[in-house]
């Protein structure tokens, strides 16, 4: 029997607000332990939470970007459980009235576009951190993250392959970056993911027994964990066993999931409306205000690149997925660059250089206007495309504009025919073999001779002109 996996993902994203969800403490990542704390986020007696308006704005922005409906009436609830890194021993979250619901994102798979439903998006607060390493006895606690605003995005069980899961996460990440609500860094924990996975015979519409997987620290580990878990469940089913509803942890090193044997399943969070917080009414005006402030989103930008600029879908996607690169591209085009040429330069040469250096676009000195100028120099035949590649490297490292680089280094293309004829005659004289070949009918021997001429002029010869002149000399028409 063939099985298919049914996967739903729960993604937590820390919002990059200045202050925490319910107090004025800094929400910045890092800082010495327990320096971003106050009585409110330490859960001291008698304190009360005051919601951060900015965090609510961000949650709305994220909801709208994920095509969710915004609840006109929403509220905060308490999720009750004891854990040492939870200051109040309950987490303020949203239970039955999440701020966003019924959304979707579209991912592009080999089999075409797939729409993945977003069941809900709700607001909550982050917990602190327990530190066990290097502690002689007991544990230490750091509450700097306690109370940092989070959103949890819960997908519908619409994901069918591990690859789709990765694409979905990538899409969520890109959208969050575009909206500017989070820096979505998995390594700093500002984006986290848990998965629910079950198997069912292909073609069946029923759901199998659900297993939750936690502790996946990268998109790749999500993909690997799902692949592993699907295979594990399949072999259990095929050997006549039954899947146990449980929580399993992903072990990155060993590449396996293992049962956490925690009593988590038995948890009753005893949700109830937080009496310290008045319900939140969100009128249409507020929604409209947030919607108006939404920047162009990845799908819109993709469409613009393909439809307006005629970029190949692949190129458009690569650009769109990198917010900084796409911004660079847009600015270069706005400054007058031919979109296709700009895209080519970014996709091939700039990307290659960045990859080689292990840097991002913001870490090198080239500006979008530089690229515009560089393309202009090629179009005007001031420099050759080959020379331009060197100029690009120089601009990236020095930040000088391409025109100055060309001038300083004397890279202006030789378009003076008489100067080139002289050099060409020397090349022919020095290479009697290839000349002979050409004249005997091996017409492609001219490629070698053009190369020699370019070499002699240190690349400054206009390649078309060089070709022309050589051909004329060889054919004896000069």
């Amino acid at each position: 029997m063939r099985y298919e996996m049914v996967v739903g993902l729960e993604v937590h994203i820390e919002l990059s607000t200045e202050s925490k969800m319910f107090c004025d403490c800094s929400a910045k990542f890092g800082g010495e332990a327990n320096t971003h704390v106050c009585p409110v986020c330490l859960g001291m007696p008698g304190v009360l939470p005051v919601p951060n308006k900015k965090a609510i704005d961000y949650a709305m922005r994220a909801s709208l970007a994920l095509n969710c409906q915004i609840a006109p009436f929403t509220k905060f609830d308490r999720k009750n459980y004891h854990y040492p890194d939870m200051p109040k021993d309950y987490q303020i979250s949203q239970y039955d009235k999440p701020i966003g619901s019924n959304g979707y994102v579209v991912i592009r798979t080999d089999k075409g576009d797939r729409r993945i439903g977003i069941r809900r998006l709700h607001m909550e607060e982050d917990t602190g951190k327990s530190l066990h390493e290097g502690v002689a006895a007991g544990s230490l606690l750091d509450f700097n993250r306690a109370g940092v605003p989070l959103i949890e995005i819960v997908s519908e069980p619409d994901i069918r392959t591990a690859e789709e899961a990765r694409l979905y996460l990538q899409k969520i990440r890109t959208i969050m970056l575009y909206t500017g609500v989070s820096d979505v860094k998995m390594e700093e924990g500002s984006m986290r993911c848990d998965a629910n996975i079950s198997l069912r015979p292909e073609g069946s519409s029923e759901f199998g027994t659900l297993v939750e997987i936690k502790n996946m620290n990268s998109f790749r580990s999500v993909q690997r964990a799902l692949e592993y878990e699907a295979a594990r469940q399949q072999s259990v089913l095929e050997s006549g066993g039954r899947i146990v509803r449980e929580t399993r942890h992903w072990d990155e090193g060993r590449g396996v999931t293992f049962s956490s044997r925690s009593k988590e399943e038995a948890h009753d969070y005893r949700y109830f409306p937080d009496p310290d917080l008045v319900p939140l009414e969100i009128n249409q005006e507020w929604v409209d205000e947030v919607r108006r402030a939404l920047p162009e989103l990845p799908d819109q930008r993709f469409r613009r690149y393909v439809e307006e600029y005629n970029l190949p879908a692949y190129d458009a996607r690569v650009l769109v997925e990198d917010l900084a690169l796409a911004g660079f591209f847009d600015e270069a085009v706005a400054a007058g660059a031919n979109p296709k040429a700009a895209s080519n330069w970014i996709m091939v040469d700039l990307q290659g250089l960045l990859k080689g250096e292990g840097k991002s676009i913001s870490e090198v000195k080239i500006k979008p206007s530089h690229l515009t100028q560089l393309i202009d120099l090629i179009e005007k035949a001031t420099i050759s495309g080959k020379i331009a590649k060197d100029v690009l490297v120089e601009v990236c490292f020095t930040g000088k504009d391409p025109e100055s680089v060309v001038k300083e280094k004397g890279l202006v293309q030789i378009t003076d025919e008489s100067a080139l004829i002289k050099a060409a005659e020397e090349v022919l004289a020095a290479n009697p073999g290839p000349v002979e070949d050409y004249r005997k009918g091996k017409k492609n021997a001219i490629g070698f001779l053009v190369g020699q001429l370019m070499k002699a002029t240190r690349g400054k010869a206009n390649p078309g002109l060089a070709n022309d002149i050589l051909r004329k000399l060889l054919d004896g028409s000069v």
Binding site: P39, G43, G46, V47
Partner: protein, 503 residues
């Protein structure tokens, strides 16, 4: 009469005219405490040095010609579940026995700004759970009128301190009657303002949707003065109301002609003692004589109030008290195997039996499978109770009831029987469920013990209640009576001073 048997407005006259200094007023209170606190035990902590410092500052302010507010230099007690920066705030619990908050409650800031001088932190039932002040980790407070009786609860220490002249006024908190019932038992004025009228920031939460801070005073005028200082919106409490705050002293007019009063019959049923019934009825007659129209009415859902309350309040408490886990502050049990064991031990050893009982009740009420049947149902009944009041206030300006079904009972009388203890809040609990303001004012004496009359108003109608209370006060002298205990001290002191005077 000693300086500690006067009201704030009387002391203000003496102080602002220079007849008595704030230091003299403070010292008189410290002497009173020295003399009778052994018997009353109103305080968990007496902040003697702070009081004298604050009084000296008040004297200096007066001498340098600064504007003196009505509460400047006035000694006050704060219930020990209202946090005071640098002063232990225990909630009368072992679990917070040594907790010193690094911040003030909003009301404490406001009273300090108004010039109030802290005498100490008043005893209470642990985490405000109780009706007799017997559930304190530090032992019970005694009723100054009869030290064999309870002062009521949970704000028993605050009520007793004001009744015994150990503070001029006090703050308490009222979740189901915790200000009004002890005010009634101790013969002082107690007001539970409208929910949201006073910031809860810094009030250690028992049941957040019911808790409200309010004053204990010796008369209605003082009540208005303290309300003026503590009411108003607080950005740190999103449940605090932005309703404008009037000057409550403007309500102190002895004219209640044409005011419409309702007498809900459900508050006069079985369990109401004969003495209380008589005192309340004669107060109602008096109000009618002064020109109010009085009519019987019905609040049919009253009989569900107690059970509704005992689902909602413990449910919220079970969550509010979860943070006392020994991790960050407060008591931590030793010898635990792991953190789960530490929680269990800490909470078992740190909380008293009544608190543990309510945490269990609340946890149960919120549990999966029971939530709909208990908590959700309770919320629905709560709205019915609110509707009852809404309907009544279509017809009436205020409702008149007893504050408690009996006068103060004896120490130990109900301690072993939670249900009969819970019943002593039967008249006050519906008011919290509806978030209404209510005032308890002494309307007579029975068995030598004060009887409280409860006046209930619509939301934000504290002024109406003050006006009624003031009118009543003008034609009675109950508010001028002082417990015999305080007179004994007066007499002792006079005796001591006699030889000097004789010379």
């Amino acid at each position: 009469m000693s300086l500690c048997d006067l009201t704030a407005h009387e002391l203000h006259k003496l102080f602002s005219s220079g007849e008595a200094s704030a230091t003299e007023i403070a010292e008189a209170h410290l002497e009173r405490i020295e003399a009778i606190e052994q018997e009353v035990r109103a305080y968990v902590t007496v902040t003697r040095d702070r009081l004298l410092e604050a009084a000296a500052a008040a004297d200096k302010a007066r001498q340098s010609g600064e504007v003196i507010g009505p509460l400047t230099g006035i000694p006050m007690a704060i219930k020990d579940n209202i946090v005071t920066q640098g002063v232990k705030t225990t909630c009368a619990s072992r679990i917070l026995e040594n907790f010193i908050p690094p911040y003030n409650a909003t009301v404490v800031d406001r009273l300090y700004n108004a010039g109030g001088c802290l005498v100490g932190k008043a005893n209470m039932d642990e985490f405000a759970m109780g009706s007799s002040c017997e559930h304190s980790h530090f032992g019970p407070t005694h009723n100054p009128w009869d030290t064999g009786r309870v002062p009521g609860g949970s704000s028993g220490g605050s009520a007793a301190a004001v009744a015994a002249g150990e503070a001029v006024f006090a703050l308490g908190s009222d979740t189901g009657g915790s200000i009004r019932q002890p005010a009634s038992f101790c013969g002082v004025v107690g007001m539970k303002p409208t929910y949201g009228r006073v910031s809860r920031y810094g009030l250690v939460a028992f049941a957040s949707s019911l808790d409200q801070i309010g004053p204990f005073t010796r008369d209605i005028t003082d009540c208005a003065l303290v309300l003026n200082a503590i009411c108003g919106h607080d950005p740190r409490d999103t449940t605090s109301a932005s309703e404008p705050v009037p000057d409550f002293t403007e309500s102190l007019v002895p004219d209640i002609c044409g005011m419409r009063l309702g007498v809900p019959r459900e508050y006069f049923e079985e369990g109401l003692s004969k003495g209380v019934r008589e005192a309340v009825n004669s107060a109602i007659e008096l109000l009618a004589e002064m020109g109010a129209t009085v009519e019987e009415c019905s609040l049919p859902h009253t009989r569900y109030a107690l059970s509704t309350y005992y689902l909602i309040a413990p449910a919220e408490a079970s969550s509010n008290l979860a943070r006392y886990d020994g991790v960050r502050y407060g008591y931590r049990a030793s010898g635990a195997r792991d953190f789960v064991d530490m929680y269990k031990k800490t909470r078992y050893e740190g909380f008293g039996p009544e608190v543990r009982r309510r945490i269990m009740l609340g946890t149960y009420a919120l549990s999966a499978g029971y939530y709909d049947a208990y908590y959700l149902k309770a919320l629905k009944v709560r709205t019915l109770i609110c509707k009852d009041f809404d309907n009544a206030f279509d017809k009436f300006d205020a409702l008149v009831t007893p504050t408690a079904p009996t006068v103060a009972f004896s120490l130990g009388e109900k301690a072993a029987d939670p249900l009969s203890m819970y019943l002593s809040d039967i008249c006050t609990i519906p008011v919290n469920l509806a978030g209404l303001p209510a005032l308890s004012v002494t309307c007579g004496f029975n068995e030598g013990m004060p009887v409280g009359l409860q006046l209930i108003g619509p939301h934000f109608a504290e002024g109406t209640l003050l006006r009624l209370g003031y009118a009543l006060e003008q034609s009675t002298d109950f508010h001028r009576r002082r417990p015999p205990l305080t007179k004994t001290q007066e007499w002792d002191r006079n005796m001591e001073e006699a030889p000097d005077n004789a010379v």
